[in-house]
Amino acid sequence: MTQISKTLEKAVENFVIERYLPILRITLGWMYFSAFLRRTINVPAKLNPLSTAYVGGKLITFLPHAWQPIVGQLEWILLHPHLLYMFLLLFTAVEGLFGLLMILGLTTRLSGLVITLLAWSIGAAGGWLGPTCVDEWQIAAVEGAAALMFMFTGSRWLSIDQYLAKKYPRGLKIWKFYIPLW
C-alpha cells in the first residue's frame, strides 16, 4: 500500500512539473524559428551574398577569438563563398525546422539535441562577442542548457508528442532498438 502511494505521489509530481515545461519550450523554439523568419521573410537580404546585410559576413567577426580548432574551418569556408552560401542555407533551414518542432512539441527530445549542438557551436565560434555585456556566451550557455534539459525530459503537455507517446510509448523503433524521440 505504501509503495502504491509513493508511486502515485511521484506520478502526480511529474504531472505537475510537466505542466510548466512549455513556458520554456515555446520561447526556446522561437529563438531559432524566428532566426529563420528574419532571414527568409523579414530581411531576405540576409541570405543574399551580394547584399551588405549578408549574414555570411557575421562569420568573419567570429574569427579573432573563436576556439582555436574552429578557426581553420571558419577561414576555409569564408574563402569558399559558394560553400559558405550552402552552409548558411542549411544552417538556416536546420534552425527553422528544429525551432518549429520545439514549439510544436514534435520530437522534442531530438530537437533538444539539435538545438544544444547549435547553441554550443555558436558559443565556441562567436561566444566571445559581447559589445554590451558578455552577450553571446549568455545566449549560448542558457539556450544550450535548456535544450539539453529538453533532450532528457521531453515535453508532452501542450505538444504533439503526447499523441505519439500514447501510440508509441517506448519511442521510435529502429531494428530492435527504441529511440525515445518524444
Partner: protein, 168 residues
C-alpha cells in the same frame, strides 16, 4: 544509483561544464575577465616598407565591436627612437582607392575601405593596404604604427605597431 539519476547527473555535469568552460575560454571569467568586444585592436604582422616610399600595410582587426568598423585615422612610420619619419593622416586614409586595398575575405559590408574620414576595418577582416609616401626611406629598421579614431595605439596589451626593415 538508478539509471535516471545517473543520466540527470551526466546532463548536469555536461551543461555546467560547457557553461563554465565557455565563460573561462571566451572571457577568462575566472581569472582575468576580458571582453574583446569593447574597444578596437589591430594586428599589423606581415607589413612591409620599401625604400621607394611604399608601405604595404597588412592590417587585421582583432578586437572591438562587431556591429561597426574600427577607424584608423593615422599611420606613422617611426625611427626606432620614436621620431616620425613619415605619416599618413585621416584625409589621406579616408580617400584610398579600393584598387589599393586587397581584402582577404570578399564579403560585402565587411570590406576594409575608405569612407571619406578614415580607413574602416571591420572586425575579423584582413587586408593589405598600399600607401604611398613622396619620400624615400633609408635602409634600416622602422616602426609602423596605426592609431584608432579613439586616439589609442594600444588595447588589451596589444600595440598596433610592428617593426619593419627597409632593405638596400
Amino acid at each position: 544509483m538508478d539509471r535516471m539519476t545517473a543520466l540527470a547527473l551526466l546532463g548536469f555535469i555536461i551543461a555546467t561544464g560547457v557553461t563554465m568552460g565557455l565563460y573561462q575560454i571566451n572571457f577568462q571569467g575566472f581569472t582575468h575577465l576580458t571582453n574583446y568586444s569593447k574597444t578596437p585592436a589591430y594586428s599589423l604582422a606581415g607589413t612591409q616598407l620599401f625604400k621607394n616610399g611604399t608601405l604595404l600595410l597588412h592590417v587585421i582587426r582583432v578586437a572591438g565591436p562587431d556591429t561597426y568598423g574600427g577607424f584608423i585615422v593615422l599611420v606613422q612610420v617611426l625611427y626606432p627612437n620614436g621620431t616620425v619619419a613619415y605619416e599618413w593622416n585621416s584625409t589621406y586614409l579616408g580617400h584610398i582607392s579600393q584598387y589599393d586595398i586587397i581584402n582577404k575575405y570578399n564579403l560585402p559590408g565587411h570590406l576594409v575601405h575608405s569612407d571619406g574620414f578614415a580607413l574602416v576595418v571591420p572586425l575579423g577582416q584582413s587586408a593589405i593596404v598600399k600607401l604611398y609616401a613622396p619620400v624615400t626611406f633609408s635602409p634600416g629598421t622602422y616602426i609602423v604604427r596605426v592609431y584608432d579614431a579613439d586616439g589609442q595605439y594600444e588595447a588589451y596589451g596589444i600595440k598596433f605597431q610592428v617593426y619593419v626593415t627597409v632593405n638596400e
